[in-house]
């Protein structure tokens, strides 16, 4: 946006770290001219625990609970990414049933994560009700996770070589009920929020990220697809059983405004939920009895080497750069966090917007500070 000639003194405002719309402990230092933002500098690190240092102190399998605590609203996807990276170095074959279960829980977690993004985005913009609807369905998914691994948020379910345990018998009927509920619920969300006039007015043409800019800044996931780039690792660099599954990759088309605005990013998430529901159903249909853990993966020692593996989490591409010296512990485990890279574009996009639009912008990037700060 064009910055008009300054009319008043520059004022510095700290947004956060205790601000509900920053979705955690993010502090953004705003230089403002009246209501208009001139400069935005994010300050990170309030939740920094140095995950990567911890990885070097525990066994390979012991890293998985730490990955739970990075993106804690999509912990399954984090488990999945880490295990795939280690298995790439190990060269382990995963049993068919374990692979299906992994994709099943990852897609369920993607729905849960997007529901949270959808609900809290409504609150950011000023609509409280959608949040309650979103949590109604999210609760069902967390219940399902409780059935399969006992935890509701930090699962440690996907392990190196498979998954920790098989599903209980009540899982499948409950999961099919969830699929039916979600198919009815998503049109409801659209009626409630997506095409609501006030919501559209608040998000249309706000925070436009052109495709070229998104690529140069390393944006991935819904932020990249919201800018109209059709790129999804599950489709374009498929891993696990994704090549055998049928789904579409939704992209932002600028339906209510410019391509790459906040509304586009928001809508990509809603449409991804529809696709994930289909994926969950396909996975349920493919479940056949069998082992859920590969043999000889209880205590692993990957050979000396370095690998980089990336997967598509609800927030973007999560990369693990893993270095092994042939020992029982990781020599180095670097995480390429999607939120960290997506958030870095904020200082580029924010100038010229109003302070109130900043809330819409941060919400549309959908960060989880546990993963930004690690």
């Amino acid at each position: 946006m064009e910055i008009l000639e300054r009319t008043s003194d520059v004022m510095v405002i700290n947004m956060g770290p205790q601000h509900p719309s920053t979705h955690g402990v993010l502090r953004v230092e705003l230089k403002t001219d009246g209501e208009v933002i001139l400069e935005a500098t994010p300050h990170l690190g309030y939740l920094h625990r140095d995950f990567e240092k911890h990885c070097e102190a525990v066994l390979w399998g012991g890293v998985i609970p730490y990955t739970d605590r990075m993106d804690y609203v999509a912990a399954m996807n984090n488990n999945f990414g880490y295990c795939l990276a280690v298995e790439k170095l190990l060269g382990t074959e995963i049993p068919e049933r374990a692979s299906v279960l992994r994709v099943l829980v990852s897609e369920l977690n993607r729905i849960a994560s997007h529901l949270l993004a959808f609900g809290t985005y409504g609150i950011d913009i000023g609509a409280f009700t959608p949040f309650l609807y979103a949590f109604r369905e999210r609760e069902m998914i967390l219940d399902l996770f409780e059935h399969c691994c006992g935890a509701r948020l930090t699962y440690n379910y996907i392990r190196i070589g498979g998954v920790s345990r098989d599903l209980p018998p009540e899982f499948e009927p409950k999961c099919r009920r969830l699929v039916r509920t979600m198919r009815e619920a998503i049109p409801e969300y659209n009626n409630l929020l997506s095409y609501n006039q006030i919501f559209v007015a608040r998000t249309r043409d706000i925070g436009v990220i052109p495709a070229e800019l998104a690529i140069a800044w390393g944006c991935t996931g819904p932020v990249l697809r919201g800018s109209g780039v059709k790129w999804d690792l599950r489709k374009d660099e498929p891993y696990s059983i994704y090549p055998e599954l049928q789904f579409e990759v939704p992209v932002g088309k600028g339906e209510v405004g410019t391509v790459g605005d906040c509304w586009d990013r928001y809508m990509v998430r809603l449409r991804e939920m529809e696709q994930s529901v289909d994926l969950v159903e396909q996975c349920l249909d493919r479940l056949k009895p069998g082992p859920v853990m590969a043999k000889g993966t209880r205590s692993v020692k990957p050979p000396k080497g370095e690998v980089y593996h990336r997967t598509e989490t609800p927030r973007g591409e999560l990369g693990f750069y893993i270095v092994s010296d042939g020992g029982k512990k990781a020599y180095r485990c670097k995480v390429r966090s999607p939120c960290f890279c997506n958030l870095s574009i904020l200082s580029e996009i924010a100038p010229g917007h109003l302070i109130a639009d900043m809330v819409a912008l941060i919400g549309s990037i959908d960060i989880v500070l546990g993963e930004v700060d690690r």
């Binding site: 102190a57 800044w217 390393g218 990336r310």
Partner: protein
């Protein structure tokens, strides 16, 4: 393009300063001479056949035994849908430093700041060379293998040997 072609193209342009390497296990990489990394990155970005328009990840690695630090750049091209890893190695002593690639990919900004924060590798020409995850007045670089936790920080005592109930992890 696959790795062999990308490696050959880089080796053809930069000779001995960009050596394609295929290890026994793990991902292949191109070993780049420290002084030429920014130049190689710019070529990767601007060459028609390569067009690596996205910098994915910058990882630092510390090898105290060999007295060296390594930095790995994972690049990706949305146009050609291929990727490559560039690797730079430098001595660990003194002030390790590298040329910044922020001018090539703006997304390198925070990744380089993180690498400085954790390993103390300076990036020459970085527009905002501050720490990012740790407080600005932090001492030391935690991901170096020989990092010692300070005993006190702003009047607070730090017990580096503290373990939650259950004791330290068992071997």
């Amino acid at each position: 393009m696959d790795f062999a072609l990308i490696g050959a193209r880089l080796a053809g342009k930069f000779g001995g300063d960009a050596v394609p390497t295929v290890p026994e296990k793990g991902d292949p990489f191109v070993l780049v001479k420290r002084e030429r990394i920014a130049e190689v990155c710019r070529f990767c970005r601007e060459d028609e056949a390569l067009t690596f328009n996205s910098l994915h990840c910058i990882s630092g690695i510390d090898y105290p035994k060999d007295q060296k630090l390594a930095v790995v750049y994972n690049l990706f091209s949305f146009r050609h849908r291929h990727s490559v890893a560039l690797r730079v190695e430098m001595p660990r002593d003194g002030e390790p430093h590298l040329d910044s690639v922020v001018a090539v990919w703006p997304g390198a900004n925070w990744l380089e700041r993180e690498t400085y924060d954790m390993f103390g590798i300076r990036f020459d020409g970085h527009p905002d060379p501050r720490r990012i995850l740790l407080p600005d007045d932090w001492e030391g670089f935690p991901l170096r293998k020989d990092y010692q936790v300070a005993e006190m920080w702003h009047g607070m005592r730090i017990d580096a040997n503290y373990h939650p109930p259950g004791g330290p992890p068992k071997e």
